[in-house]
């Protein structure tokens, strides 16, 4: 048992790699701060476009969304980070990762928000318009507040996915939490930093999972 602790939960190694992991965690947080607001912003744009545009356009948009979704996120990431330089565009690594993951996650945020908008009865639109509100004001004051509330659990769920997605950044050499854990593992020839990184991800995301469950509030099976 002590050998197990020596190998996988070596406190000395963990303490020595804490600095590296902290720097990695910071990069992971930075990536999240790009991807989550970016995904929500462009997702909202997509949802509004799909709600307001004529039918021919929404059909095209839905194919576009599905095309993006057909790419495994890692393939999209590698394509953008390793492909853009061939076009003479070399964004800094964090930005390249941010662009790729924002493209991916905004399609999911977009569909969720669209479902939220669609969940509002048409009579709400009619009532709002009859009071003299314009389309934009109706959306802002009547439809979106109710629609967003209806899909809050799904929005939280996709935010969880977005945070998990940032671990892909390690593959294109962005020094995020996972990457730094691998580096520390190499330095110490001991897997404890990897285990510590996995525990950090859990500590970060488990509360979010619990929150999603609370928001979802499902019935229990009859005992």
């Amino acid at each position: 048992m002590s050998e197990f602790f020596q190998t996988f939960l070596n406190l000395e190694v963990m303490a020595e790699s804490a600095g590296l992991l902290a720097r990695g965690l910071l990069v992971t947080v930075e990536a999240c701060l790009i991807v989550i607001p970016g995904g929500l912003f462009f997702g909202a744009g997509l949802a509004l476009a799909q709600t307001l545009a004529p039918r021919s356009v929404t059909g095209l948009l839905s194919w576009g969304v599905d095309l993006v979704r057909a790419f495994p996120p890692l393939v999209l990431l590698v394509l953008i980070v390793h492909g853009l330089p061939f076009l003479g565009i070399e964004p800094p690594p964090l930005l390249g990762v941010g662009i790729a993951l924002t493209i991916n996650t905004s399609t999911y945020y977009g569909e969720i928000l669209r479902a939220g908008i669609l969940s509002i009865e048409p009579t709400q639109w009619e009532a709002a318009r009859s009071t003299g509100l314009g389309t934009a004001a109706t959306l802002r004051h009547v439809i979106l507040p109710q629609g967003v509330r209806n899909v809050l659990p799904d929005l939280a769920g996709n935010t969880l996915e977005a945070v998990k997605l940032t671990s892909l950044a390690s593959v294109v050499a962005l020094p995020d939490l996972l990457r730094m854990a691998r580096v520390a593992q190499g330095v110490h020839f001991n897997p404890s930093p990897l285990i510590l990184a996995a525990l950090l991800y859990l500590a970060l995301l488990w509360p979010l999972v619990r929150l999603i469950r609370r928001l979802g509030g499902r019935a229990v099976l009859p005992a």
């Binding site: 197990f4 190998t7 057909a70 790419f71 890692l74 393939v75 991800y201 859990l202 488990w206 499902r218």
Partner: protein, 222 residues
């Protein structure tokens, strides 16, 4: 523009990517089958256990679903591949990816089946039990068939996600589509193989993504 579609590079990359498709499909189908089976078994156990001594089992299953929902699949894969050997467990890249993807899908599938089971009206249980069916029979013949209908759209989407996540296996040197493309890209310093791989993924997954969308409208879950 020519550099993106260099025919010579594409021709050199194709055999590897072609064999990568088999690996991608093999990994996808095996982890989807394992994950769905694992989720179904766990949700069934959770639905059927009763009484004080077994109560904690349900909690353990719920905790498993939580942990693997919170864990990024790539982190799990890296831990399995790079840390497990220190415990004397040497997994091949394919096995590590199979286990990681199976465990992650198993957690979502358990959640989906469980949600389906709990959404079946309590009266269905009572009616089935009152006709003399045992608890197991009531579950299998009455509750589960109704629950499964609700699980089809979300389960399809998670299965597609698992299929796409096979690309993660490229990180642990599994020669699937992305890995094959990346190695030719490294040799030729051309983006063409990556674009070819991207095209392969679109050809594989676009029909599935469309089908998933159709299922969601056909069997709405809310």
């Amino acid at each position: 523009m020519r550099i993106f579609f260099d025919p010579e590079v594409l021709a050199a990359a194709w055999p590897g990517i072609r064999s990568g498709i088999d690996v991608t499909l093999g990994l996808a189908l095996s982890s989807i089958a394992a994950g769905v089976a694992l989720g179904l078994v766990l949700a069934t156990v959770r639905a059927l256990i009763r009484g004080a001594p077994l109560r904690p089992v349900g909690g353990l299953i719920a905790a498993y679903a939580d942990v693997f929902r919170a864990m990024p699949p790539l982190v799990l894969l890296v831990v399995l591949y790079f840390a497990a050997p220190f415990a004397g467990v040497e997994l091949s890249g394919f096995m590590a990816a199979f286990v990681a993807l199976g465990l992650v899908l198993g957690a979502s599938a358990e959640e989906i089946f469980w949600a389906g089971i709990t959404s079946v009206n309590r009266g269905q249980w009572e009616a089935a039990l009152s006709t003399g069916l045992s608890r197991g029979e009531a579950f299998r013949r009455v509750v589960l068939p109704q629950a499964v209908r609700l699980t089809i759209p979300p389960l399809t989407n998670r299965a597609i996600a698992t299929g796409k996540n096979t690309a993660l296996a490229s990180v642990v040197a599994v020669p699937e589509v992305l890995n094959q493309a990346a190695s030719v890209q490294a040799q030729t310093a051309s983006p063409a193989p990556l674009l070819l791989a991207a095209g392969v993924y679109v050809a594989l997954f676009l029909p599935l993504v469309r089908a998933g969308r159709w299922l969601e409208t056909r069997f709405p879950t809310r």
